[in-house]
Every structure is written in C-alpha cells, then in structure tokens.
Symmetry: D2
Subunit: 378 residues, 4 copies
C-alpha cells in the first residue's frame, strides 16, 4: 500500500517518513512539499540516504497515488486536500488543528483566527486520540470516509494523564493545572530566534503563559473524557477549567506534563489537613496506590500507555523514539491533590506516531504495526 504525505519536509512530516518507511504494511511513499517541490527528500534530510529516497511532488500527485494521505501542514491550509480525499474515499489524517474541534467552529476560529473552509467535512472527521475515540474512528472508517484530526502534542500528554481521573469521577470541581515542558522540535523546522541554539541552550522558560492554542483543545478533552466516563451526553461542561503553562527546555524530543488535579473528598487522604512537621506518609502512599491501580486498570488494554509502578516517575528520556505515553501517579504530601506526570515523545505519540496509530485502526492493522520501537536507553 502506498502512503502519501503532504508537507513531508517539516519535522512532523519527516517523522512520518521515518515511521512509514519501516511500516510492514506500507510498500512505498508519495511525498509532497510546497517548499521543496522537485527536490529529493534525502537531500533535505541526509539521514534518509539509502533508506527513504525520492522526489517531492505536488500534493495532487500524492492524493492520486496513495491509499491513505497524511497532512503535516500549517493550520488552515489543508481542507481542500481533505475534501478531495473524502470524495475519493481515501482516509485523510491531518496533523494540523483544522479537524480537532469537530463542529465547534467558534472555538477554532476564536483561537486560530480563521473560519472553516468546508464546515461539512466535520461530518466525516473525528478527533484522533485512539484511547478516547477508537470506536468512532472505526465507525467512520467503515463508512468509507474518514478524516482524523490528529491531536496536538501537549493535549495528548495532558489528556491521557487526566482521562482515568475524570472518567471515574474522582476529581473535585475546580481548575486542573497542566504544567508542561517541551523539547525544541515542538517549534518546528523553520529557524526562529526562540529556537536558535544559543537562545535556548542552558535555559528554561515558559512561553505563551495563559494563551497557548492547545488550551481549548485540552479543555474540550476534559469535558469529552468526563462524558465518556459517565456515558451521558452533558456533564456540566467546564466544571474543570484548565490552567496550562507550556515551557521550553533544552532537549530535542519529548513533552513532560506535570498535572495537578484536586481530589474529591473520598479520594483524599483522611489526614489531608494534618499539619506539619511531617505528613502521615503511609496514608498518602496508600491512597496514591489506590489511584495508581485505578489508572493501571483503566489502561490495561492500551498498547501505548504504560502506568508506571510505585517508585517510578515518568521521564521523557524513557520514551524517546517510541509511541509510549508513560504515566506516573502521585499524591501531594497533604493528600488533597493528585499529581500526575506523563511523558511522551512529542514527535511520535505527540504527532507522527499517533497518526500512524490512527492509520492502523482505520485499516484494521495491528494497532502497533510500525510502532514497535523500543525506547532508547540514552
């Protein structure tokens, strides 16, 4: 089967090239790039030499040649390709934000500054977080027309870290804080001062405090995950507002999310309000264990979520080059707040790997096909 990639020369596109070149069900790639049309992919990425070679063609040629099309384009420019694919009944897996908000065009346009081009395409689209929407992905695939709104990198880690807590109703009403740190590849391939080596090496800083575009996506997921847990249509949307602070750290790959979730009464440590000098650690540890088991049970059939055992803490270095999302479960020392740490490779589970996972679901392949890489030890 030929897979097509539109926008193959950006970082997410290049990661798709890498993953699909090693995918057992993919026999060849058709690659398009606006910036480098006519050039060769192994010239742009010399690491591909001898492994993933070929000319970069026009997007139309990709759509003509491929049985599945991935788009790794800027926001707001890929809808026409999606339309073509829907008409040709070719699955379209979109890594931009264009199809992440379903029919909520208002939120999309408020944050991304542009309207939907073909709003009706959302009849065929689904937010592609497999752990949340696997069933719907399969339904649309069966219908013959499917567009995947592949999740953003931050929303993937933030959502997988909160899903069990929200779905199982152990959270007290109130804000959830997601404090996240990303490697520099998250900024893409285009040189810019913020990602210039001397500007970001040996430094750490937040950015877009209170205004990052992934905020509404994560917030919407909170509501969707509550609803998925309860099975009912509306569950007081917005009961768990989000405070989201992204940081830039000097590393290439990875997103770490440290998530602070206020616990509902029954899930708090009994001695939650006990004062200093030292909290009753045994009780806190026991409660954390209870919630850790809840998480492990919730994800027991998920191939790419690893709930870490007691004593382990998620680290981006332990998932690099893999499609895993590692989750570690902790309680703060007062026993009132759940602290969830998640780690993903931002370019794999946070982008290209998740896109391939969605393709596997659509085509009925083993969901791990092409995604079996073991995380590097260093």
């Amino acid at each position: 089967m030929i897979a097509g990639i539109i926008g193959a020369t950006g970082y997410a596109g290049a990661e798709l090239v890498r993953l699909l070149s090693g995918h057992p069900k993919i026999d060849g790639l058709a690659l398009a790039s606006v910036s480098f049309e006519g050039d060769r992919i192994e010239h742009i990425y010399p690491n591909f030499l001898g492994k993933a070679e070929g000319f970069l063609v026009k997007p139309e040629e990709v759509a003509a040649a491929a049985k599945v099309v991935f788009a790794a384009l800027p926001n707001g420019v890929g809808e026409s390709f999606a339309k073509t694919c829907v008409e040709k009944r070719i699955p379209f897996i979109d890594l931009s934000a264009d199809f992440r908000f379903d029919d909520d065009e208002a939120t999309f346009s408020a944050w991304y500054g542009k309207p939907y081009v073909y709003p009706e395409l959302r009849n065929h689209s689904v937010y592609g977080l497999p752990e949340l929407n696997r069933k719907r992905i399969k339904e649309l695939a069966a219908s013959g027309s499917v567009i995947i709104g592949n999740p953003g990198c931050y929303p993937t880690g933030a959502s997988l870290g909160t899903y069990p807590a929200l779905a199982k109703g152990i959270v007290e009403t109130g804000p959830i804080i997601v404090d996240a740190a990303s490697g520099i590849t998250g900024g893409g391939r285009e040189p810019a001062r913020a990602f210039h080596y001397p500007e970001c090496a040996d430094s750490v800083t937040p950015y877009k405090v209170g205004s990052h575009r992934h905020t509404p996506e994560i917030g919407r997921n909170f509501d969707a995950m509550i609803k998925a847990g309860s099975g009912t249509e509306k569950q007081n949307p917005g009961t768990h507002p989000l405070i989201f602070t992204p940081h830039l750290v000097p590393m290439n790959r990875g997103i770490l999310s440290t998530i602070y979730v206020p616990l509902a009464g029954a899930w708090r440590s009994k001695a939650a309000n006990a004062g200093p000098p030292r909290p009753p650690l045994a009780e806190v540890i026991e409660k954390a264990g209870e919630i850790r088991r809840l998480y492990a049970d919730f994800y027991r059939n998920e191939p790419f979520v690893r709930v870490l055992p007691e004593g382990a803490i998620a680290a981006t270095g332990r998932v690099r080059q893999s499609n895993f999302c590692d989750i570690s479960v902790h309680l703060d020392q007062t026993g009132t707040t759940l602290i969830i740490v998640t780690a993903i490779d931002n370019m794999v589970k946070g982008a290209a790997g998740q896109a391939v996972q969605n393709m596997n679901i659509i085509f009925g392949f083993d969901e791990t096909a092409g995604l079996t890489a073991i995380p590097g030890s260093f």
Copy 2:
C-alpha cells in the same frame, strides 16, 4: 579582610571562591576541605589557575584566620564550627539547612533525620533571605554574634515569587503550587547516576514528588511572609499549604519556578467565570498589570529583584552568573489564578551569591559589592 570557606571544593564552595575572589572588600581567602585537605584549590578547579590559588587547610585554621566564615557543608555537620565562630564573634554564614528553621527543631529533625547539636545557637541565627529578614540580620550583626541560615535554592525563587502576594493579602486561602525546574549543578559535585550526563541529557523529569526537603522551608516562609506583611504575630499559619514539585532539566545553572496562586475575589478578573470560546483578554491583561505594579512597587528598593515589564517572561538564561531574581507576573486566562514565574541562578542567588549578599549586609558594605556581574547574554 580575609574570608574563610569551609567546604570549599563542593560546587557552592567553589562558587563562593569565585565570587569572593572578585569582591572589593576581601583581600584573601582561607579555604578548607575535608576531602581534599593539603591539595590546592586550583588543582581541583583548574579554572581558578592564576586567579584563586592556594592550599586547602583544616577548618580550624580557617576559623583562626578569617573575619567571616562561610560553610558549604552537608546538613548536620557544621554546628561546631558555628559555635566556635559565635564564641569568637565572627559572622558564620551557613549554606546548609542547619540554621534555616530557627527554633523549630521538630520540623528540621522530621525532614533531615537528626536533632540540633547546639540548639541554643538559634538565639544568634537568622534565616538569610535579605528581602524578608534584612532588619533582623543587621540587628544580630550589631549584637556581635550572627549566624546566617542561608536559604535553599528552591525556597529562594519560590519565596521571592510569592512574597508580595502573601504580604499584601491578595491570595485566597488554599494551596499554592510551586512547579520548579533546576539545572544539574543543584545536585552537587559528587558523581551519581541521576546526574550522569547520559542519564539527564535530552530528558526532563520531576523527582522527589511530594517529598522534597525544601517543602517545609518554603511552607514556613509562606507564613513568615504573611506575618511580615500584616505586622502581626500569628496569621493563621498554614492557610496556604504548599504543593511543590521539583524537576531536573538538562542545563548547568538556574532554577525556574512557575507558581500558581489562587487569587482572592477582589483581585480576580470580573469575568473570571466566563466560559469559552475565548476569555475577555483585555480584562485579564488589565488585572495582571495591576498585580505587576503591586509587585514592582513592593520590590522597588531591592537591588537584586527585577520585576519584568509586561510581555516579558522570566527565563533562567537571562540571570545566569548573576545574583538577580527575575519575576514575571501573569494571570491565567480565566482570571482566577495568579501565575508567577521566577528565575534565579541556583548557584548565585540560590546559594553563594545570596551568602555574599548576607555578608555585605552584616558588614555594612554596599549590598551589591562583589555581586555586580551582568548576566551573560548566552
């Protein structure tokens, strides 16, 4: 004036050597090291060659030669040197935790696993955060016997970031979250797996979640800062419990603290509970500006605190090699939570620089003497 350093070969000790060698009031150094007694400092640190040279002697010889003694020792081993100095009426500036808890031996022993050796020394000691305790430092100095419990690295950034908010009473009762990230020098000079290059490069991870020893120090400071603001003795201690999560990031120097403070009603954005799609940014920005002015005014006379203007965000790379604490003030998009970001060089304002600042106060030197380094641009 001769300054002495006991524990001169650890990272904090070496940073003291560097700063004191360039201090206009210091004519010479007397250096002691248990591990390297008899060796030369420029042999251990070849960067000092030609600039800060000399043999490492016994601690007793340091106390005999110096007019001020700095101790950069493990916790719980330096009290006898403090005692000697008090008896000789030589200021003793201690970078360990031994004198950070004043007469609250219970908290110290609960978290550090050992009792005070000479509890009565706390009659002469003060927690050396100049912005909070400058007056008391001067009083003790005037008394002739002064021990400084130099603050921990994390507590410095966390406390300076919350002091104006707590002192001015703009905070709602409830937990304050400090999500902090440290460079690897925070782990000290001794090799260990956690600080082995391949283990921490290109990765980020929290550690000691819910159990770091700086937690009680920061929590105690919260109470002290409320009290300092109100001027009254007891102000419901513990009304602002702390959730503190330290992270390790691949850089040498620096601590970034992202601090989430729930705002009291009057300080929230009026439309704080307004829903999606988009918050009324103008109102949030205005409220943030109000609090930023409050911060700037609060610190207007502090030589080492820089409250950044609107639009700027604190970054560790902007304070490196300096004694500055940069603070940026933000509101979350819902207008309910104050987000304070502070950046320090963990080895300067977070350790050796603050110790020198304390020395300057004690001796009546210009408080910036020896600490005038401009942060490097890269």
Copy 3:
C-alpha cells in the same frame, strides 16, 4: 533462537537488549549481570517496560540457554565464558578488547596490563569488523567455533574512513592523524566525575592525548587494511603511524572522526604547492571527486557504509540510532592531504549494532536483520 547477553546492564549491554528484542530471528533473551543479578532488566532500564522484561541471571545460565552469547564485560574478565562457548560450539561475540588483537598478546598486555588467560582461544577468534574480515568470520562460523573480537568504537570509525585509501595505495608514507570526538555514552554507565553532567555540559576537551588504548587497535588495522588491499602478507607494517586524539563532546551518542591522510603524489592536486592568496579550487574539487568515487566504489556492496555525495559532510546527528557509518571525502585546500570525515553511532555501529551484524554473518541471516532502523532526523 535465544540470544544471551552477559553484562546486560551496562550501556553496550542495554543497547544489545534493545536491538536483539527487535530482531526478527531472536525469540527470546537470556540476560546476565554481575552487579544486578536477581533484579529485573526493566527495573534497571525503565524504558524497557513492557518491551524487554525479565530477571537477570547468572552467566552460566545464559550460556546454557542461548544459541549465541554476547559479552559486554570489562576487559580481561570474559575469557572463561568464551572458552565455555567454544567448547559448546556456541558463537561468542565479545565487546571487550580481549579478542581484538588475535595472537599479538604482547600488544594487548602492553596496553591493557594483563596477559591472555587462554591464549589458544585466538585460534577461533577474529576481529569483527565485517567490512574487513567478513570472509574470515564466515570461515570460523563454518568451523563451528567462533569468537568475535568486536571492534572498539573509535577504531570502527577510524578504520572505515581509511580502508579504501590504504587498500588502494593512495597514501604517502607517514603519519595519519585521527582527531575524533565522542558522545558521553562512550564513558559507560558508571558515574564518574568526567561524565558528571555539569563537568561535561557546554564544554569540549581532548582526553588521554597520545595514550588512548584504541591507538594500537587502529594502528594494527592500518596494516591489516594495506595487506587486505594488496593481497600480500607483509606490507611494511607501521609505514603509516597513527596520531590519535579523542575528544569528549556534550552529546549522548555518536563518534565523529576527522582523519588527515597525506596523499601519494599522483593523487595530489597538481597545483598542490601553489601559494596564496587562493588555491585553484576547481582542481582540488576535481581531485576530491576522484577519490570520492574510489571510496563509493570500494564500499558499493556494504549495507552499512554510506559514502556521501559531494557537498555533504558527515555528522553524528545523521546516523543516530542506526548502524550506518557515514563517510564524507574532502581535500584540504592545498590539495596534499585527504580529509576523511566519518560518523557513527558509537553504541550501534561502534558497539552493539556491529555485534549484531557479526551475529547475522555467523548465522547466515540477512546482514541487516534487526538493524534496519532509519536514523532519526533529530
């Protein structure tokens, strides 16, 4: 087929675990570790969770269970395991230096400070640089008893970079300079000051100038490669003495070798001695192209050597996580000296990957089996 690894918890061992776990011909692993016997590999390396799990057993149990044994042990301690394997006619692939010097025990003992334990084992051993000794590896494999002396990391890059030049006789008598830079994983997993993050981050330095143990191994290879090219037994050994300077650079993986080779007259640019202001670049470029074609032709059937096209320069970042050795061919501006740049991943082609390649040759597997990873783009 079960593969065994003795010394599975060091960095080279862990990389073997990772590669062999994804190898299509390997059904299971038997892992031994002296330091962590009884523990589990996924506890030592949490990145292996769910992918490569199991208890660490005794070396004897590994030898009993496996059809091939890899040893990633310190120098001088693995010979008894090799002996056992030879007796059981199980291939033994040794990543230490013990079997790299064939019957030249004098050189081994001069540089490694110990004698051979079972000198007669060298009747069954071969230096495992496949590009040089593939034929001999197959012969020994056919004989039923084979020990591989897997090459050192530096010698792999240095030898592959000089082999065509030496075999084809385009080199003038005289010293060849290998200036090489390694990532920190080359120092192994044990914490040490030289590999402590703050000591090596943001700095570069040579080490063991003129005295690194890989020097005699590279020098011996020079002679072997000349001999391999000429087909005759003795070709004035030592006509190309080696000057080798290893450097430590702040990165995790990779070795870059910049190699300076004095060219024989016929291969020099004609205007080699032309003076300033500017060399006749066209001529230099033409001569470089000639030698580049010679290199490309020499390696045309090698699956893991990529001779880069004109204009490209080898970089470690382009081969990371792969078994490739990238080679770029240049001439200095005076046209007298060949400058060869090679890049490998020190833990793959420089250690574990090459070991797997040797296993593939021994067992007649496709030589790239388990080694098909495409280098990451970042």
Copy 4:
C-alpha cells in the same frame, strides 16, 4: 570616558556591552544598531535590564559621543566609520575582517569577495593580537590614529597555540593541522538552519572543510610569528602551510583547537621511530616537558595566556566567561608531532574581550582592566 559600539545588538556587540559596562574606566556607552535603531538595548537583551540600558542610536551619533569606537559589523561595511574615527583621531576597534590583512588586499578580496573601500586606512591599522603586536598597537596609539583589526575567533586560538613553536623554530617544514571546535554562538545571533537547536543539539560535524575564511588569516599569522621570532623580515613565507577544519559542537561558548605540529629533528623524541607494542613513554614525557617549559617561558609575562602544568588538558569549560587562552602541551606517542590544545571563550578572548584588551593597551590602562572575570566552574 564614553565608549561607543556600532553593531551593538549582534552577539559580539552584546558581549562588548556586557564587558564595557563593568569596565572601571568606562563611564557610559553609546550604542548603535542598524536593525534596531530607536529600540532599547535592554529590550533586545532582557538580561541587561537594570544594568546596561539605553536607546540604540545612529552610528554617527556614536562616533560623535565616544572617545573610542568598537564596530561589530558584517565584513566590508564599516570602513567609512573607521575613516571618520581616524580623522577625528578616535581609536577604532573593528571586529570584522576588514582590517585583519593589513595591506594584503589581494588575500582579503580573494576570500571575502570585495575590495578595500579606503585602502589607505591600513597605514593606521594593526592586526590586534596583543601577544604578537602589542608594540605596534602602542606605536599607532601614540601616533594618534589607530585602527585595530581584531582577530577572528579561530585565528586567536590557533595562533596563540603555535606562536612559541614557530618563533622558537622547533617546527619542521610542512603542514600544520588545526582541528578546531566552536560553540554555536560563533554563528551569530541571526537564526539559520545550521544553528537551529534541533539541528545542532546532540550532534557534531565539521563545516566548510578546506574553505573557511579564517584559513588565510591563520596562515598569515604563521608567517608573522616566525618573523617575530627571528627578527628578520622574510623567513620563507608559506613554509608551514595550514590545514584547518572547523567543527560545530553543541555548546554555547568556546573554541577548542587541537593543533598538530611536526617537530624539527632535535625536538623529537630520540626513539621517535620506535615501533609497537608500546612507545618509550618516559622519553616522550620528558620531551613534552621540555617544550612545555619553553611555552611557559615564552608567555611568562602575558596576563591572559595560561600554559597548563603537566597532566592538565585545556578544556573550553575552564575558560568560559573569561579572557584567558589556556594552552596544554603534549607529544604524540611516537614523539614526532607536537600536539597543542588551546581553549578560549570565543566571545571573549575570541572577540569582545580581546577588543577590550586592545582598548586597554591603546589608552595605557592596566591591560586586564574590565577583564578580571574568573572563569566559571560550571
């Protein structure tokens, strides 16, 4: 005294701002920037907040206000400012290549692609390597009109490393190889793909092999240093051709040069041609010591050159933020080749610090004024 900087917002310019702000003889700065005229320096570099503030004005205003002018501009655009300063008898210190080649316009134009604008200015200019040209700098300063052609970053490390050997005639005719590695700040402040964080992190690579513009500058210095040693006008220029390979390594600051110098007969180890297995180390060490003493003696009065003792190896991390050039002296194991390692901070001794050193010489200040920073330990 007011110092002016034209091109204050590039990296070298910013480093000048930092150093001059702390200089005891400088009372104020006048700063110009083409790109950011009208903006404020502390807005471009927030690290300067509260320490080095002010508007960026036109170059003409700088020349009008200052008693010394530094220019950190692209090559070939600053001559008119130099002319103005010469006419006004204000020292002009130029960090571009425009005045590095004295009256050899042919070499300049061959490598930089443009002619001199005002060739006659070279009557007043001198190549500003103080260790080589201190006397001439003073002479020109005394004449009232002085232009400094501040050396390039690579030439500084390469020249200081070879000067004693060339001046003392211990080198055999033939090529000298300079294999050098630079931190990324060497590429300047403008974002570009080669300096984009994900492209250079965790990788090392040479660039411009055989064609870097610093080649003719270093080669010219070889001749000048031989001449300076012998005291005669012409000493067979070009007898020591240069092979120069720059590398890019993932760090912010620093240049390490590993320099291979063929030794004249008398300076070789007697057993230079002794074969394997092991060289006579004692003899090699003795010879290295002899040359090390020669180097130490040669530089005994230089305030910024540190010849390291036996056993130490130069590392960029040991000179960071300082104006030092560290030099370590080694012999290769065969005793025929001198291996010199030099380390500088590329932005200090390699650029801005050296410029300040030149200013100090011109004005008769203590040569170390404003340059007393002790290198950071980390």
